[in-house]
């Protein structure tokens, strides 16, 4: 087989056809505007929301503090070792996607996905400068003129501005937002901030402005995954071909009806095709490119209203019902509650409950022991045996705390801290700074006579000096000859 030899590569690679979505008004369009406004408002303004955590911690409500390895989300503070909360969050996010899919198809793609939201925004900017579908097609076909030049330039400039703000807002989640805004304005922000803004400006501009539906069709894995997740019962944006076919004009329908033949409600006005942001024809049935944004429903409903036919020729429905109606059966009622959705919801509830429980009951202090590996034990001049440990105390509270260490497990075991400031009463006390950890060296010494075994289990306790009820326990072993 020679593909290269034929010189006919045009068949294997197709130029993307530019989509010129037509403006539409209606119920689903309003939902999309609302999601867009709320989503963008949250995205752009959330970094400026303050949350008081006391004098020792940042007061930004949502902050990914990479330098100090902390993630703050309102009252929640996550340390690196608690990254499993993100695992839980991701499991829940996946299940929510699955659940949405099982109930009403690609809700995520059509309404919530950033790609959809920003594309919507960019298309409306395009419409503002270049007019609606027809004007845009005309403008693109025109030779270059001043009018075309300024419209195109203004569009791209506005796009770049939005993209720039998008990238700008992103970096605000990684540093104190008001400070960073000031630094960015005066050119004193760290280079990383500028680089990330540049990268995200570029991706936003190219993905939402230029790539658009190509992202969904060729770059995103979700359309492929969701094909495996949907089922016959799920609602999807559906053209009810039982009612629509055969397509015929209003006049033609009157003629056909006069002859006693069947005439469909679809007048083949192609409004559903024109408004589609991915440029497909929903009347071909469910297809990969359909993001199920519902705009064709709005378009069709508008037309049906004008010609005095019932709405809903395109609507949220499923193929089982369409086929049932074709046979003349009663369409089945929609069942959002079924085994699949119950399982998804149950997993979401269980994971959510486990996470909430974990968050509510997690300790504010911690104690880790690392036994010295060489030497495992040391014999002292009086014959007693010493084991050395590295002790890490964790204080997750925003204030300074002191912990008293004690040990049990071997009779006559003496505890001694190296390089720790002496406490007033001589007890082994370790002070730990707010929201941090401290590593100290601990020596345990036991008389040789007390060692009944080569390895004996010991328990180390760290008790909060101020609140005796707050204590953490760690277990290890004491080794001897």
């Amino acid at each position: 087989m020679s593909i290269t030899g034929s010189g006919d590569d045009g068949a294997l690679y197709a130029s993307a056809k530019k989509v010129y979505p037509l403006k539409v008004k209606g119920f689903y369009r309003r939902i999309k505007w609302a999601v867009l406004l709320i989503g963008l408002a949250v995205y752009y303004f959330l970094p400026f929301v303050r949350w008081n955590r006391g004098p020792n911690l940042p007061d930004q409500a949502v902050l990914v503090d990479l330098a100090n390895r902390r993630f703050y989300f309102f009252p929640i503070e996550i340390w690196p070792q608690e990254v499993y909360f993100f695992t839980g969050l991701l499991v829940m996010a996946a299940m929510v996607l699955f659940l949405m899919n099982a109930v009403a198809g690609r809700i995520w793609c059509g309404y919530l996905c950033p790609q959809t939201v920003w594309t919507d925004l960019f298309v409306s900017v395009e419409r503002f400068f270049e007019g609606d579908r027809r004007d845009r097609i005309k403008l693109d076909e025109q030779p270059w003129s001043f009018d075309k030049l300024w419209r195109k330039s203004a569009k791209h400039f506005t796009w770049l501005m939005i993209a720039w703000w998008t990238g700008g807002a992103w970096v605000l989640y990684f540093a104190d937002a008001p400070t960073l805004v000031k630094d960015l304005a005066f050119g004193t922000a760290p280079m990383t901030a500028y680089i990330w803004i540049a990268i995200l400006t570029f991706t936003t501009y190219s993905l939402a402005g230029i790539m658009r539906e190509q992202v969904c069709n060729f770059m995103c894995p979700w359309p492929r995954i969701q094909a495996a997740l949907t089922d016959d019962e799920a609602l999807n944006v559906t053209y009810r071909y039982d009612r629509g076919e055969p397509r015929v004009s209003v006049k033609g329908a009157a003629k056909l009806k006069a002859l006693g033949e069947k005439a469909g409600d679809c007048v083949d006005c192609r409004q559903c095709v024109y408004v589609c942001p991915t440029g497909i024809d929903i009347r071909h049935g469910a297809q990969l490119e359909c993001i199920q944004c519902g705009l064709c429903i709005d378009a069709c409903d508008g037309v049906m209203e004008k010609i005095g036919r019932p709405k809903g020729l395109i609507g949220y429905d499923n193929d089982l019902n369409v086929q049932a109606r074709m046979r003349g059966d009663e369409p089945k009622k929609f069942h959002p509650v079924r085994a699949r959705t119950i399982i998804y919801a149950a997993i979401i509830a269980v994971v959510g409950a486990v996470m909430a429980f974990q968050l509510a009951t997690r300790a504010t202090s911690g104690l880790n022991l690392i036994h010295d590996r060489t030497p495992l034990f040391v014999q002292l001049s009086d014959g007693s045996i010493r084991n050395a440990f590295t002790v890490r105390l964790i204080n997750k509270r925003p204030d300074k705390r002191s912990f008293v260490l004690s040990v049990s497990g071997v009779e006559g075991l003496k505890l001694q801290l190296v390089n720790v400031e002496a406490s007033a009463d001589g007890r082994p006390v370790v002070q730990v700074d707010p929201d941090s950890t401290r590593e100290v060296r601990m020596l345990l010494t036991a008389p040789k006579s007390a060692l009944t075994d080569k390895s004996m289990r010991i328990t180390v306790e760290a008790v909060d000096l101020a609140e005796g009820s707050q204590k953490v326990v760690a277990q290890d072993h004491f080794f001897g000859p």
Partner: protein
């Protein structure tokens, strides 16, 4: 075979096929977007720029350096220099401060311990072992038994000048006579005094050994350095014989060998190889292992 067949249309999808067929299964022609192909070409063009900008092609004895002059090795050097510069002030502080002040200041202490640990691994671990565990003839630095003293200043002096170091005038020096080899004591006397020495640390003597005679021999030959009670003398590096720690082994045979042939461990002087800050760090580190006095 032609690249694809316009006339061959799949019935179900209405898509043309590529003309490829395997056992009756035909491959549909679903064209890849042109921009995807263009990205591929763009990457090729980008790679050319990359070749020009960065080191790329190997030569016989060298390689193309690239116009940006990038070198990962130079990058490492820059980072190392930056690190050194960053640590310079801490090192200067350590060099100036006296040992007690380093121990008292948590910041300096943290630096000294970290630096000491690293320097120990590089310079001391070959003899004293990782974790300073020591072995026969090489003292364990974790315990509380010190030949030449376990105070910070003692350890620092030992580190600086070494023990029986040949190239240092200040080095710590002492010599135990080889009582057997040099004919000072007879074999039987050595056995007797060795038995006595073992009992000083609570050990059991062999049957039939006259410990009274051993005590006398000890007083005559050993006590001048090891002390009347055998408690040792750090001034002379004479080990404490009453404790449970035996550098060359605490069995009677080991002690007999020590008395017969003598022992004289050597440690290099570090003052010419390591800077003051590093030696101070080492002293503090060793002192903090747990046995420091």
């Amino acid at each position: 075979m032609a690249g694809h067949n316009h006339d061959d249309i799949d019935h179900i999808t209405g898509t043309s096929t590529t003309g490829h067929e395997w056992d009756g299964i035909k491959e549909l022609n679903t064209p890849l977007p042109k921009w995807w192909l263009n990205l591929f070409y763009a990457c090729i063009i980008w790679s050319v720029g990359y070749y020009v900008a960065y080191p790329a092609w190997p030569g016989i004895s060298s390689y193309t350096k690239g116009v940006l002059g990038y070198s990962s090795r130079a990058d490492v050097q820059v980072e190392l220099d930056a690190l050194k510069a960053q640590r310079a002030s801490a090192a200067a502080d350590l060099a100036k401060a006296d040992l007690a002040a380093i121990k008292a200041d948590p910041k300096m202490l943290a630096v000294a311990l970290a630096q000491g640990k690293a320097a120990f691994g590089d310079n001391c671990a070959p003899c004293h072992g990782i974790g300073a565990t020591g072995s026969k003839g090489y003292p364990n630095l974790n315990d509380d038994d010190w030949l030449w003293g376990g105070k910070l200043a003692d350890i620092y002096t030992t580190l600086q000048n070494g023990i029986r170091s040949t190239n240092n005038g200040e080095t710590r020096i002492s010599a135990m006579p080889a009582f057997g080899k040099d004919g000072i004591l007879k074999k039987e006397e050595i056995r007797t005094v060795s038995n006595y020495a073992v009992t000083l640390a609570g050990g059991k003597a062999e049957a039939g050994v006259d410990l009274k005679a051993g005590e006398k021999l000890f007083a005559e030959n050993c006590a001048s350095c090891h002390g009347d009670k055998g408690a040792g003398n750090p001034e002379l590096g004479a080990p404490n014989l009453t404790d449970q720690i035996w550098l060359y082994g605490g069995k009677i045979e080991d002690v007999i060998e020590t008395v017969t042939n003598s022992r004289a461990g050597v440690m290099p002087a570090w003052n010419e190889r390591l800077d003051t800050a590093t030696i101070k760090s080492l002293a503090v580190y060793v002192h903090s292992l747990g046995g420091g006095k």
